[in-house]
Structures are given as structure tokens and as C-alpha cells.
């Protein structure tokens, strides 16, 4: 026998999971580079960490998705954060732990984690 409270608990748990299928335009997109270079460098745990955190917190406005090769393979795993009305942020050499930090400080807190952002000038030939 389910009570109203139990129903509500199921609803909240499922709503977070079904958020992946939400059709509304998302305000924020977290895009993880998942080409061969990214996967080889360990992009998979990064992607999964973001997906897990977004669903856990039930963030309706954030979409976690993947993309192909971004072109700067030596900086993989790469994560790009697109927020409406703001310039995009590119994080490089990501790990699951760094992903959690970025999630808490940037996605939740609104502050770019400067330590992990791609260097302003990419040095060629090194």
C-alpha cells in the first residue's frame, strides 16, 4: 500500500531520471568530448560524473551531452560548458574529481574554475 508520501518520493526520484528526456530548451549544456582521443584520455568517467550529479540534484535546466573530437586532442578529456548569454568555458585535462569540483563551483556556484580552463594561448610545437 502506497501513501501519498511514498508516491511523492517515487515521483521525485523518477523525475530526476526522466529529466534526461525533457524536451525544453536547456539553459546550460555541459558537453564532453567523446571521440577516440577523449575516450582514451578518460572522458567516460567525466561524462558519467556530470550526468550523475545533474540527476542527483535534479537540475532541470542543465543538459549533459557528448560531442566528437574538438581538435585539440592533447588537452583531452575536454569539457565545454555553454550557458545562455555567456561565453563558453572550456575545461581541459578533466577527471571525475575535477568534474565534481567544476559541477559544485561552476554549475551550482556560478564561478568558472580558472585552474582547469584551457590556457589563453595554446603553445604550438611543444
Amino acid at each position: 500500500m502506497k501513501s501519498l508520501e511514498e508516491l511523492k518520493a517515487i515521483r521525485e526520484r523518477m523525475q530526476n531520471q526522466l529529466g534526461v528526456r525533457d524536451k525544453d530548451e536547456k539553459q546550460t549544456r555541459i558537453v564532453v568530448g567523446m571521440a577516440t582521443c577523449g575516450i582514451a584520455a578518460g572522458a567516460r568517467p567525466v561524462l558519467n560524473k556530470f550526468a550523475e550529479l545533474v540527476q542527483e540534484k535534479g537540475l532541470k535546466d542543465v543538459m549533459v551531452t557528448q560531442t566528437g573530437c574538438i581538435g585539440i586532442c592533447r588537452y583531452e578529456p575536454i569539457v565545454e560548458v555553454f550557458e545562455s548569454g555567456k561565453p563558453k568555458t572550456t575545461y581541459v585535462h578533466m577527471t571525475a574529481d575535477k568534474a565534481e569540483e567544476v559541477f559544485n563551483r561552476h554549475i551550482i556556484g556560478g564561478n568558472v574554475v580558472k585552474d582547469y580552463v584551457i590556457p589563453a594561448t595554446i603553445e604550438v610545437g611543444k
Binding site: K2, L7, V20, K23, E56
Partner: protein, 597 residues
């Protein structure tokens, strides 16, 4: 936690094009790549674009893959799910040269639709009660049972302006009110769901049952509370095996969660639902015949009054609503009657689901706000008439409905406007016809159906429809007279006024509406012995134009009855006495030398 969901359509349309095997292939392939803990594979109900099945949607990108084959599965998994590269060539495109990759919701097919009854179809797994609860399922039932009186529930349904989606358009709230108020002797009352969708070409209800079965259970339980009933019956055709299976699963899950059964939410309210399978008789979609069938008797209608609200199932007060009507109820409770009444026209509120078929690019299921014009449905959502042909008419309401001709292409589709044109919204079948369709033949097709399906209880329907069919048959064979047209019309009107049940009363509609709008076409058959659309075989002649014929002999070799003669490089001739009018010669000829008329 899954980062991505792969939704494979498991509706009847996609199932018949092999989506079951696609689903299994995805599971296997995803496992082979070790992604089974990251990517969920979910079977859903109908997405609506049945012509392009099997359909696969990948979230969170909401990428819409159409006509997916088994061979495509490894590519989607390794490219899209593993590496994040959308497989462009499989993505649904509106036009051949359209290179843009759009999410399904941005296509013309989806953009003008407004999904209320179908909101969960193609989005949730119909075999998971948790997913239904996750889309606010059973929240309305909780609200009704713990916060509202039965009268308040009825008032909300009344205020929403919801009308029966099975065809007749009777106000749903009014029906509930009558069933609550008229008999108050403390005896049992019943709630029934009409899922005996019998119109040729209609599959709206099937899609709701297959894609979102719990919504019907929840709505029926709400109605049970509103009228004071503790038992519900869903009468569903046995020809809908997937729907029956998912309903059974849903009922089992709801009982397990205590959402059906005794003391729901601890409020002391009891309600349970049972399935009854229909054996496919069209007449059992008529409410009194349906209830007679549930009682275990031969499905035949009986005169009304008494109306079911007073004396229905087992001679007790009963309400009977159609699947699509039920699918609107929980959202009306949750979002309020104003929300619902804001959609649609003055007298026809909300949305309506139509099954688009016939000469149309996007065969499938669409849900639109009432009052959308026929042109918008056919051209914008349906993608128009294919092969550059001209729109001639749309048939709505199946065997009980009528045709809307091209001159009324801009009619608003709602109960009132279609009735003005002699058609009905009906349960929602919409068959599009182009210049190659003969309207007399169409009327004959529907009459043949009615003759077959007449239950035989009343004379006007049993004998009258047969006589109408015979007259139509005579006309299509070129033996009709102008008097026949008058007799046909007189007979049609008589049957309309005198048949016992709704099916008999509406059976003449296909004739009356085609006579009204396409009388010239009838007259061409009768007076000129000619079928303008080139459909009625008895009135057809294939002829070879001797000036265009090169004598290539291609037609003579293809003719199945060898009725074409002639020597090489000389014009050929068709022997009309032997010709069976199959049209093969015309399709074969490369020089356009053969014409029909």
C-alpha cells in the same frame, strides 16, 4: 544513473516494421561496448510518425532516427552513444535536400501539434509504473481522494468543457453528474472505458493504451470516486494484443502499489478495474451494445432512454467514456479547468488526436488543438498530398462520418464546424483523398463495411444499408439511373431517422455527404457512364493512341490476359471484350500512348 536514454518505439506500427528486434539489438550492442550502466534502452509507445518506423529517439540530444534497420544499430551505438557523433544519414529529415539535423520537436510534423492525451506516448516506458509516476502520474488521483469532494471533481470536469472523444461529443462532466445524481439508492455503479476502436484506419485509442496505459486507470478511478462507483471495466478489442498486454501489466502494477484495490491512499475508497476483451464486432463500440457484451450477452444495442447514467451495465447507473477522453482527465485535475478550456474553440475545448491516413506524406498520429484548420493538418503537419497530386477531400469519422471537400479546406476542425458540413469529428480517423479517388467508390467502401458489421437487430440498418450498397454498386457498374440517386438520398434520410442505434443512424453519412459535395461525380457515373477518377473498372476503357504507339510490344508481353495485339513497329490494339482493366499496360508503356477514361 543513466547519462543517455535510447527510446525505441514499441507501438503497433513500429512493431510491425521490426522494432522489437531493434530493441534487442540495442541492448546487445550497448552491452558489447560496456555501456549498459550508462545508457538506458527503453521501449515506449507511439511517437506518431508511423510511416517512418521503426523510430528511435536518443536523449538528451532528442535525436530522432527514422526507418532504423538492424544493420544501423552498431553504427548508432559506436558513433552516437560511444563517441557522441550523431549519425546524420539516419536522422529524420523533412525534405530530401534538407541537410539540417533537427530535434524531433522542431520538425513541422511536431511543431504544430499539442500533446495532451498523447503527452507520455513515446516518452515513457508504458510497462513501468514508476516512469508514469515520474511524469506526475497518480498525483491527480491523490489530490482528488484527499482534498476534494466528488461534487468538486465533477465541477472541474464540467468547467473544463471536455466533451466525449469517442465521436458524439457529449459533455463529459454532464455525464458524470447525471450518473452521480439521478440514482442515489446506495447500490453499485460502474465506470467503463470504451477501447473498442473499430473505425477502419483509426488507431488513436490503441496508441494511448500502448503508450500510456496508466492514465486510463487513474482517470477511471477518479471517475469512480466522482460518481460513487467501486468497479470499472475496460472493454478492449482482442485485435489489440500489445494494448491488452500492457493494460494487464499496468493493472497488476497499480494493484501492487495499492493504487487499485481497497482503501486507496488510506482514504477508505475502494476501486478495481477488470478487462473485457471484445471479439471485434464494430457494433460493440456503441455504448449500449458494449455494456450488453460486458454482461456476457450477444453484443446488440438497445434503445435509449433509459440512458446508461440511469440504467447501464447490469441495469445500474454507469458512465462510459472513450480512451482519449480518459487520457485528458488527470491533467485537467492537475492543471485546472481553465488551462484546458484555454485550448480549442468556444464550444470545442482542448485537443483532438487524429489518425492521418490515405494520400498523405506523414501517415501517423497527430494531436492538435480543436479549431486547427484542415489545411494546417494536411499540409503543414501531414506534409501534404504526395506525388504532386491535388487534395480532393478528407474523410473524417470513418463509416459514421462524411467527406470534407477541397472548397472547405480552411474549415476549423471542431465538433460544430464539421457537423455543419455533414461530417463528424468522430473518434478521429482522417483519410485524405486525392484526384485519383472516386467518391462513389469511397461511399461504397464504407457501406460495404456497415453492411458487414450491422448487428441485424433493427430493420433500417440491416436491410436499408444493404439496399443502399446495392444501389451504389449499380452506379459504379454504370447501370444506375438518375432516379436511383433520388432513391438513395430518400433511403439514406429514412435510415438516419429510424435506425435503433448511433451506428445505424450515422451509416448513411458517407453517402449523404458525397452526394452533397460530389453529386456531379455521381451524375457522371449515371448519365455519361464514366468514372472521372478512373477507379470504377466497369466504366473504364484503356485505349492505345495509334499516333503515339511505337509498336515496341512491351505492353502486349506484360498483359496478363493477352488482350493486346499488333505486329512489331505497328500500333497495337486492346481487345475491350477481354480486357480486365488491370492497368499494367499503362504502367508499362514508355511513350505515354495508353490512356484510360
Amino acid at each position: 544513473m543513466y547519462r543517455s536514454h535510447v527510446l525505441v518505439c514499441g507501438g503497433t506500427g513500429c512493431s510491425s516494421s521490426g522494432s522489437g528486434a531493434i530493441l534487442e539489438a540495442f541492448k546487445k550492442e550497448i552491452q558489447a561496448h560496456g555501456l549498459e550502466h550508462e545508457v538506458a534502452v527503453v521501449q515506449t509507445g507511439c511517437h506518431g510518425l508511423c510511416a517512418l518506423g521503426p523510430i528511435v529517439v536518443v536523449y538528451p540530444e532528442s535525436t530522432f532516427y527514422s526507418q532504423v534497420t538492424l544493420g544501423d544499430v552498431p553504427e548508432i551505438v559506436s558513433e552516437h552513444l560511444l563517441k557522441g557523433r550523431i549519425v546524420d544519414r539516419l536522422v529524420y529529415k523533412e525534405e530530401e535536400e534538407d541537410n539540417s539535423v533537427k530535434s524531433f520537436n522542431d520538425t513541422d510534423f511536431a511543431k504544430k501539434q499539442h500533446r495532451v492525451a498523447l503527452r507520455n506516448c513515446g516518452v515513457i516506458n508504458p510497462e513501468s509504473i514508476d516512469e508514469y509516476i515520474g511524469t506526475r502520474g497518480y498525483e491527480a488521483l491523490g489530490k482528488v481522494l484527499t482534498e476534494m469532494t466528488p461534487e468538486q471533481v465533477i465541477d472541474i470536469v464540467l468547467a473544463s468543457g471536455l466533451r466525449g472523444r469517442g465521436g458524439a461529443g457529449f459533455p463529459t462532466g454532464k455525464k458524470w453528474q447525471l450518473a452521480r445524481v439521478l440514482v442515489q439508492d446506495g447500490g453499485p455503479k460502474y465506470v467503463c472505458c470504451n477501447a473498442d476502436e473499430g473505425d477502419p484506419g483509426a488507431f488513436m485509442d490503441r496508441s494511448v493504451l500502448e503508450g500510456d496505459p496508466h492514465v486510463v486507470l487513474e482517470a477511471m478511478t477518479i471517475a469512480g470516486y466522482a460518481i460513487g462507483a467501486n468497479q470499472g471495466y475496460i472493454y478492449v478489442r482482442a485485435e489489440y494484443p500489445i494494448a491488452v498486454e500492457r493494460l494487464n501489466i499496468a493493472i497488476g502494477q497499480a494493484r501492487e502499489y495499492g493504487l487499485l484495490g481497497k482503501d486507496i491512499f488510506g482514504t477508505g475508497f475502494d476501486f478495481d478495474i477488470e478487462l473485457r476483451l471484445g471479439a471485434g464486432a464494430f457494433v460493440c463500440g456503441e455504448e449500449t451494445a458494449l455494456m450488453t457484451s460486458i454482461e456476457g450477452k450477444r453484443g446488440e444495442p438497445r434503445p435509449r432512454p433509459p440512458f446508461p447514467a440511469v440504467s447501464g451495465l447490469f441495469q445500474r447507473p454507469t458512465i462510459l467514456n472513450n480512451v482519449e477522453t480518459w487520457a485528458n482527465i488527470p491533467q485537467i485535475i492537475l492543471n485546472g479547468p481553465e488551462w484546458f478550456a484555454a485550448m480549442g474553440t468556444e464550444k470545442s475545448k482542448g485537443t483532438k488526436v487524429f489518425a492521418l491516413g490515405g494520400k498523405i506524406a506523414n501517415t501517423g498520429l497527430v494531436e492538435i488543438p480543436m479549431g486547427t484548420t484542415l489545411r494546417e493538418i494536411v499540409e503543414d503537419i501531414g506534409g501534404g498530398v504526395p506525388n504532386g497530386k491535388k487534395f480532393k477531400a478528407a474523410q473524417t469519422g470513418g463509416p459514421s462520418g462524411g467527406c470534407i471537400p477541397a472548397e472547405h479546406f480552411d474549415v476549423q476542425v471542431d465538433y460544430e464546424h464539421l457537423a455543419e458540413l455533414g461530417s463528424i469529428v468522430g473518434s478521429g480517423g482522417m483519410i485524405v483523398m486525392d484526384e485519383d479517388n472516386c467518391m462513389v467508390d469511397i461511399a461504397k467502401f464504407f457501406l460495404e463495411f456497415t453492411v458487414d458489421e450491422s448487428c441485424g437487430k433493427c430493420t433500417p440498418c440491416r436491410i436499408g444499408t444493404k439496399r443502399m450498397y446495392e444501389i451504389l454498386d449499380k452506379i459504379t457498374k454504370g447501370k444506375g439511373t438518375l432516379e436511383d440517386l433520388d432513391r438513395l438520398e430518400a433511403l439514406a434520410k429514412y435510415i438516419k431517422d429510424n435506425a435503433l442505434c448511433g451506428l445505424g443512424q450515422t451509416a448513411p453519412n458517407p453517402i449523404l455527404s458525397t452526394l452533397k459535395f460530389f453529386r456531379k461525380e455521381y451524375e457522371a457515373h449515371v448519365v455519361e457512364k464514366r468514372c472521372p477518377a478512373g477507379v470504377c473498372k466497369s466504366l473504364l476503357q484503356y485505349r492505345i493512341d495509334p499516333d503515339k504507339c511505337k509498336g515496341c510490344t512491351a505492353c502486349a508481353r506484360k498483359c496478363p490476359v493477352s488482350c493486346i495485339s499488333g505486329t512489331v513497329k505497328q500500333p497495337h490494339v486492346i481487345d475491350q471484350s477481354k480486357c480486365i482493366k488491370c492497368g499494367t499496360c499503362m504502367e508499362t508503356c514508355k511513350f505515354g500512348a495508353i490512356s484510360k477514361g
